[in-house]
């Protein structure tokens, strides 16, 4: 019964979304107040209905109700509680329901918190959210219904893919989806403005907080996913330029550009068309990402079992939404009346720097898109099967991103409207000299004179020092007496930390990326107990192996003692696990973590040579690797800080 109530709630939500997608839009166009007023309650009702559906599905997973096909296919009664819970979104149908729930949550968020918005605009935004809701609810109900029943339920389910039974992967999809779906609001705001034919100067101020929220969720989602891939896949890589990863990286790049162009629109009341186009394209990339991941058109290390009919459906959704929005954009954007059209514009200014940022980010997005889509196009025309790997992305990304990184500390230090070059140069001179010295040091000190690493270290220092200069300017470091500094630091409004943390965090991340790509060392050896291996100043001894049993798996565990300078400092126990229900084996790395670097050990199969059984062991040392995710976290914190900026402040800021 309760299962049917969840299914029924979903169908009701579909009906509510149908109303939400038509009547408020009609009302806003014809100025019928009664229809306009329907938008808010409809958005809230849709959210509540979907929350109920999701709660029902969650309860079914926790109870292991095998009369549901989805539970049978993806769960098992012996699974630990937490993974029965997260198993809800560890599969296609459940994760789509989560996607839709979040879409409705953002709609309800606008309905609840968008109090300062004009009612007609709000009705249009919620109407467009309703259209997206209708399409994705139809997708879910007709192609991937999570509530399908089995006529004769089995006694036991077939379990969840063991590598998905992991805490990081439990939070990865919700964060990623919160990002993807969050950009739907930027899309809806754009389409709403285009429908109404006019754009208010406050438009960008309403869009920006939601875009920030989406951006920071996506940043965290990608960082968590990368961390998971690093320790769980057992290769110690953090990013593979895999199509599925690109599917989340493209919206991130476009979303980052959107954040910056929305800033220009909010502060200078210009660049509206570009910001709207970027909002449409960012959400298009989010749907395209969902399509790429869910349709099975890609060969990916992260691929899921998929169904091509779903791909066709998502492609249709993409065509309807994005095609419609772009058509509207083409027809309306030029004639859009905004309050102030002739804002004086000077190229050497904060907005000039932000436009350059957009040029580089848009180019970077386009190159990733090309690399991801090219093999599909070639295949579709029957010209052969190809793949585009990491060398392509490294070759295009470095030259495109380097100028952007050089620009990053300059932007926040220049003034709106018109900026002089010389004071900015003066402020950044010390940071520039130190960064160049840092790069040169790397070039001279490393054995092979690694140019790439030198460039990376220089850029990383430039960003981190640039963030410090930004901070010192904001607390007026040069004119404040030393004793007053801590007070100034505490009193600095949180929102001012946004660019400092986001830009500095990227510097921290680059340091980690350079550390592990340029200076990683690796030992692969077939060993018998007692063998000793040396790597990056650590002496690793293979002590032997034991068999252990976990809650739903058995494992062979290797025991390694780690010595440094003759002292035993740790014992690492990597495992090769066998999940009995799923009949799959996985590799569990053991990692000795500290900021200077990670010592990373995995064990592989046994191997026999000359009658001696030995164990294949793989050890890496990843210098500075932790900074990749620490940097990502700092960037997301920057997003949180920027989110504290109130709309009113943005408006009053404009006057100073």
């Amino acid at each position: 019964m309760i299962t049917e109530s969840g299914h029924f709630a979903m169908i009701l939500a579909f009906c509510v979304a149908l109303l939400q997608s038509t009547l408020p839009l009609y009302g806003a166009q014809r100025e019928r107040q009664a229809f306009i007023d329907m938008a808010v309650p409809a958005a809230k009702l849709q959210f509540i209905l979907l929350l109920w559906a999701f709660a029902v599905l969650t309860v079914k997973f926790v109870q292991s109700d095998f009369s549901l096909w989805l539970v049978t296919a993806n769960s098992h009664a012996d699974k630990p509680f937490i993974y029965r819970l997260t198993g809800v979104w560890g599969n296609h149908e459940g994760s789509m329901l989560l996607w839709i729930l979040m879409l409705a949550a953002y709609g309800a968020g606008i309905a609840q918190f968008g109090k300062s918005m004009p009612a007609a605009l709000k009705a249009r935004v919620l109407g467009v959210q309703g259209i997206i809701g209708v399409l994705f609810l139809a997708f879910s109900l007709f192609t991937s219904n999570p509530f399908s029943r089995l006529i004769s339920p089995p006694f036991e389910g077939s379990g969840l893919n063991p590598i998905l039974q992991d805490p990081a992967l439990a939070v990865h999809p919700p964060l990623l989806y919160a990002g993807y779906v969050g950009f739907s609001l930027a899309f809806s705001f754009s389409v709403a403005a285009l429908m109404s034919g006019k754009i208010s100067p406050d438009w960008a101020k309403w869009v920006r907080p939601w875009t920030l929220l989406a951006w920071l969720s996506l940043t965290l989602g990608i960082a968590v996913g990368s961390f998971w891939a690093y320790y769980e896949l057992g290769w110690g890589g953090f990013w593979f330029w895999d199509p599925v990863e690109n599917a989340s990286f493209m919206p991130w790049l476009a979303g980052t550009a959107l954040l910056h162009s929305a800033l220009v629109t909010a502060r200078r009341n210009t660049l509206h068309s570009w910001t709207m186009l970027l909002a449409i394209l960012t959400f298009a990339l989010c749907i395209a990402g969902t399509f790429l991941v869910r349709s099975g058109v890609l060969t990916s290390v992260h691929a899921f079992a998929t169904d091509p009919t779903r791909g066709v459906f998502i492609l249709m959704v993409l065509g309807v939404l994005v095609g419609g929005a772009l058509l509207l954009f083409a027809m309306r954007a030029a004639g859009l009346s905004s309050a102030d059209k002739n804002v004086p514009f000077h190229p050497v200014s904060r907005e000039g720097a932000l436009i350059l940022n957009n040029v580089f980010l848009a180019s970077a997005t386009a190159t990733v898109f090309l690399g991801t889509i090219y093999p599909l196009v070639i295949d579709a025309f029957g010209l052969g099967k190809i793949s585009v790997g990491a060398p392509y992305y490294n070759a295009v990304f470095v030259p495109l991103i380097t100028p952007l990184l050089l620009l990053m500390p300059i932007g926040p230090l220049s003034n709106w409207g018109r900026s002089d070059v010389s004071p900015v140069i003066k402020k950044l001179a010390a940071a520039g000299v130190l960064a160049i010295l840092g790069g040169l040091t790397v070039l001279v000190m490393t054995s092979e004179h690694q140019g790439g690493a030198a460039l990376g270290v220089g850029l990383s220092m430039w960003l981190m020092l640039g963030a410090l200069v930004d901070l010192s300017k904001k607390i007026r470091f040069d004119t404040t007496p030393l004793a007053q500094l801590p007070k100034k630091l505490i009193k600095l409004p949180l929102q001012q930390w946004g660019s400092i943390l986001a830009h500095g965090g990227l510097g921290v991340m680059i340091l980690g990326i350079i550390g592990t790509t340029a200076w990683r060392s690796e030992v692969v050896q077939a060993v018998t107990p007692g063998a000793e291996m040396d790597i990056s100043g650590y002496a690793v001894t293979f002590e032997g192996e034991t068999s252990v049993a976990g809650e739903n798996y058995t494992a062979e565990q290797g025991v390694f003692s780690i010595k440094r300078g003759g002292q035993k400092i740790a014992e690492l126990k990597p495992e090769k696990r066998f999940y009995t229900v799923e009949r799959q084996s996985t590799t569990e790395a053991a990692i000795l973590k500290n900021l200077a670097g990670h010592l990373y050990i995995v064990i592989a199969d046994e191997t026999v040579s000359d009658g001696v059984v030995s164990r294949v062991v793989r050890i890496w040392y990843h210098p500075l690797v932790a900074f990749i995710w620490i940097g990502g976290l700092i960037m997301a914190l920057g997003g949180v800080a920027a989110l504290t900026r109130r709309e009113a402040q943005l408006i009053s800021d404009k006057t100073n």
Binding site: S158, P347, I355, V359, G389, A395, L400
Partner: protein, 150 residues
């Protein structure tokens, strides 16, 4: 500078960047494409492909031989065979009779030296190129790879 000149400046800059990006991207693309071939493609072509390629098919039953870090196995589309050798650790889901994709190149003797053997997340998942290749040779047994039917 007037409004108009500023706009022209940014337009010119935008077009210039577009050109530079296109040039970098297309050059890099040309240099870094990796083609996928089936054992039959290889057998039918008069010369062995040079440079890096991907091959895929099934790991032939009872073909895996391991000694130390060296693994050797045979990839087949059930019509033709390729001998593959690989130095390193095979992915967890590597099994005889299952689909596999290997990236690497042919040496002078005609053996394929793989430097990557593609890992899979999901047991039900068959690399798409392999599925297509098997369909072409008529070996593919429907879409039962999706597990429990709906």
């Amino acid at each position: 500078m007037t409004q108009r000149q500023t706009r022209l400046l940014f337009l010119a800059l935008g077009l210039f960047m577009l050109g530079v990006t296109a040039f970098i991207a297309l050059t890099a693309l040309g240099d870094n494409l990796v083609y996928f071939k089936t054992p039959t493609d290889i057998a039918e072509s008069p010369t062995l492909p040079k440079g890096k390629i991907r091959i895929g098919g099934l790991v032939a039953e009872e073909s895996l031989y391991q000694a130390g870090l060296e693994s050797r196995f045979v990839v087949t589309d059930l019509q033709n065979l390729i001998d593959v050798s690989f130095q390193g650790v095979l992915p967890d889901l590597f099994r005889e009779g299952q689909g596999v994709v290997a990236e690497g190149q042919f040496d002078q003797t005609g053996a394929f030296i793989a430097d990557t053997v593609l890992a899979k997340h999901d047991e039900n998942y068959m690399p798409r190129e392999v599925a297509d290749a098997l369909k072409e040779t008529g070996v593919w047994q429907g879409d039962d790879a999706l597990g429990v039917a709906e």
